[in-house]
């Protein structure tokens, strides 16, 4: 202890990497929760292979968890690494390039066996390469051996003991960044309530890692990242899919409608079904359907009979739901379709992130079939976006597509918990018995264009709906040409009119200037921090991020006109770009990456700067 020096540092980017069975996600989540509770702002990026247990030791079997934490506002999981924890040769191979020179490198040397080195395509053992180790502040530790020794007295198999190596690594990192062990100890005691010996062995390994850092002389310094400045209030750490699920529950409570969720397991959307299935005491009904189509059509039945009906999937599943989404649009039923986007096309990259389903949401149906589309921008923003989806669906009697993505679905950040009492009520269009006399299924509310919601079981309101074109007002089947044209216009107008109830956009930066960066969805963090950096460098650049994509907020057109250039960074080949160019006739520029991973903030920053330099 006497030798210990504590260095203050502002912001740290760290990555844990190892085999997909090494518990890297759990380790990363523990570190981020503990850092959040300590008071840092942070942003996380879990990254794991599609296979549950990919072949051990291989490069493609590497599972990693990156996070950036600091004493200021953090928008992204960070670019280059200040610290890398490599539990095996493959983890080191995949991520070493991103470690900054003189960065901290923690290695579990016990896993650097000839077999693992070969699998990871190391020609020589990096642990024996002095030159390489000296480039970084390297901490090579035989974690497995130390853990086995620490757990000598435990009645566990050698394999079970080895599984605690990740806790040793976590303990060491806790010492390095001066974190408390209590949150993780509490977590382990709760998780292994029924197997106390497993809880105890993990806690022992965690402490062994911590004391190792304290005891040995190799590490002369630990690092102190101070608390960030947050607004007053109560906070928690939250992942995107969790926030989204809570937003749906909140909307159900605030609309006095029971929540019905029909879903079919698909990565990365499955967790929504998992969360909601645990909230049954809120009267929530979850239905794991036989396929994506059934998940979607079950919510059509549910919406017709009066529940807040929701489904969630990812691109391939949404493709299967397409026909039924069309039925929801022509029958004008209030429901929510959530797409947690992943890499495409086809099965694509199931565990990686992308924004390439915007066109699918906008146009992926037969006929003239407009649908409201909104998108979440960060893990905690999923709460508000889910609530907003429900508001629009219920108030306007129509389906709403909500886009999220794998990055914000699995990423986490601190969230200022909203006060439930301050959430607005959501008004519905349920019929009153006094409306019985002049009830017509397609007679619209003048302001919202909503049609009345007459639930089966309501006496005197018997009527039929369906997928055949509807006659205006009566809702009877109609093949009349003029009626079809009129109803097509009405369905479009119904989407357009939603713009009346959404707030004007606010510009981050000046309201006019050389460059506007326009973004949507999960790229919010990297774009915002890039723009901020550019502004700090004195550049004339502003940022607008949109939640509502169809329809756009009313003032978007005016904002676009006030800038000389418009840049739209997207994790696709330019989908919002195409829509913006078509709608506003603006010569916007795209910055596109389809690599299954989020933008690095630096890449966006460099693009901004190089566009500004062009004449």
């Amino acid at each position: 202890m006497a030798n210990k020096v504590s260095n203050n540092t502002d912001v740290v980017t760290i990555r844990f990497s190892g085999d997909s069975g090494d518990g890297m996600q759990l380790t990363g989540n523990q570190f981020s929760n503990t850092s959040a509770i300590f008071g840092n702002d942070l942003s996380t990026l879990p990254d794991f292979p599609a296979e549950i247990r990919a072949p051990q030791g291989t490069l493609y079997g590497v599972s990693s968890f990156q996070m950036q934490f600091g004493d200021r506002e953090i928008y992204t999981p960070g670019d280059d690494l200040d610290a890398l924890v490599a539990m095996n040769p493959a983890g080191l191979k995949v991520h070493l390039e991103e470690l900054k020179e003189n960065g901290i490198l923690i290695i579990n040397t016990d896993n650097f066996t000839p077999k693992n080195l070969k699998l990871a395509k190391w020609e020589t053992n990096p642990v024996e390469n002095k030159q390489l180790l000296e480039k970084y502040r390297s901490i090579p530790v035989g974690m497995t051996t130390l853990v086995k020794t620490a757990l000598e007295d435990f009645d566990l198999t050698p394999k079970e003991k080895m599984r605690s190596s990740n806790m040793f690594a976590l303990g060491l990192v806790y010492w390095l960044y001066e974190r408390k062990l209590e949150p993780t100890i509490n977590f382990l005691n709760k998780k292994f309530k029924k197997k106390p010996v497993i809880a105890e062995s993990n806690i022992k390994a965690l402490k062994a890692g911590y004391y190792y850092g304290e005891t040995i002389e190799v590490i002369k310094t630990s690092y102190r990242v101070k608390k960030a400045k947050f607004d007053k209030g109560k906070y928690r750490n939250i992942m995107g899919n969790h926030a989204l699920s809570l937003g749906l529950v909140a909307a159900s409570q605030k609309s006095d409608l029971e929540l019905f969720f029909g879903g079919y397991p698909i990565t990365p959307a499955s967790d929504i079904l998992k969360y909601l299935a645990n909230y049954k005491n809120f009267g929530i009904k979850t239905f794991q359907a036989e396929d994506e189509i059934s998940a979607m059509t079950s919510i059509l039945g549910s919406a017709f009979t009066g529940n807040l009906a929701v489904t969630a999937s990812s691109g391939p599943g949404i493709a299967l739901k397409g026909e039924a989404i069309g039925l929801a649009i022509i029958t004008e039923l209030p429901l929510i379709i959530i797409n947690i986007q992943r890499g495409g096309p086809s099965t694509g990259l199931p565990t990686k992130t992308e924004q390439s389903d915007l066109f699918q949401a906008m146009y992926g149906r037969n006929g003239e079939c407009p649908c409201v589309v909104i998108a979440a921008s960060s893990p905690s923003d999923c709460f508000e976006t889910a609530f907003e989806a429900a508001r629009i669906a219920i108030e306007h009697m129509m389906p709403v597509i909500l886009l999220s993505d794998g990055y914000i679905a699995n990423g986490s950040e601190p969230w200022k918990i909203p006060s439930v009492n301050k959430l607005p009520k959501i008004k519905n269009n349920l019929v009153n018995s006094k409306d019985k006399e002049d009830f017509m299924p397609y007679k619209r509310n003048e302001k919202t264009l909503a049609r009345p919601w007459a639930l089966p079981g309501t006496e005197g309101f018997e009527h039929r709906i369906g997928g055949l074109e509807k006659e205006d007002l009566s809702g009877n089947v109609s093949y009349d040409p003029d009626n079809h044209h009129e109803m097509t216009l009405q369905r479009q107008k119904k989407v357009d009119i939603v713009a009346d109830s959404i707030p004007d956009l606010e510009v981050f930066g000046d309201n006019s200037g050389d460059l506007l960066v326009l973004s949507w969805g999960g790229v919010y963090g990297s774009v915002k921090s890039a723009v901020k950096k550019s502004q700090d460098h004195g550049s004339s650049v502003s940022h607008v991020h949109i939640r509502h994509i169809n329809p756009f907020p009313k003032n978007l057109g005016d904002i676009l006109k006030k800038f000389k250039k418009v840049l739209i960074p997207e994790l696709n080949m330019g989908q919002l770009l195409t829509i913006i160019r078509a709608k506003y006739l603006v010569d916007a520029i795209g910055f596109n990456q389809v690599a299954g991973k989020p933008f690095s903030s630096n890449a966006v920053f460099n693009t901004i700067e190089s566009i500004l330099k062009e004449k």
Partner: protein, 336 residues
Amino acid sequence: MSDIQKLKKKDFVSDQDIRWCPGCGDYTILNTVQKVFPELGIPKHEFLIISGIGCSSRFPYYMNCFGFHTIHGRAPAVATGAKLSNPDLSVWVITGDGDAMSIGGNHFIHVLRRNIDMNILLFNNRIYGLTKGQYSPTSEVGKKTVSTPMGSLDHPFNPPALALGSEGTFVARAIDKELKHMGQIITEANSHKGTSFVEIYQNCNIFNDGAFENLTDKQQRGLTRILLEHDKPMIFGPEDNLGLVLDGFRLKVVEIGKDYSLDDLLVHNVHDKNLANLVSEMTYDDKLPVPFGVFYKEDKLTYEDMMLDQIKESIKLKGDPDLQSLINGQETWEVK
């Protein structure tokens, strides 16, 4: 209750023109349902009829109650969502052989397996009518149609056998020309709690006319079909002179009074699944009559009752909903 008793057939007739071809078997089914519904003791506004796509699926438009004409094959899934969201409704699915057995096969087997309380009426005409006469998944092998000029190659489904194989808890068959029998079966289907499946043979007089003529023609039907009744011996024949016995594991036709007496005949038992399987397999067996009536019936918990029990159990375990505490979660910190 007085309102319900006063319900008449005309209360269920909608103001829409019926667009089925004149002479279609669908008319008699519509008529029968409109006659049966007022007698079920259910208020009119609690009926919900859900259909898919095809000639039969226009049915909801002609019934003056709540209805949903959905998309091809998906009616059982829509009905699932409707019933789970409001278990008080009397939910009816109207479907056809293409709708239920082909494009909607997956939903069909899963709704039966889950035993959600609803009634499925499958109008089987063994042809695609609305698309002008292609063979269907219940058409006989070798059927020549516009899409199979040299004859169809696939073996047909036998819908009751599929329903039994899907763990169905009520499986029955009726035919469009025998209205009274059809009415009885529909009434019995309604009183069963769980998914009730009724196959109704229905003549398409445009594209597959006479498909069931041997079963409806008064001269022939004595030999070609058998009406099954629970706890009654399996008798048929022009003068009720034939019966079925068990020969090893197979059914065999015998003449009563020749080598066998009435007491030797098999007695139908709707609760015996082995027997139900044997009965359903008679359908395509040339040596045996085609069975009608209730094949099988089983009391089993419904999905929606178990779902509501779980909600109650969850409230007992976790307490009444408290949104703020749910959102707060386990670990929070305060910034002052």
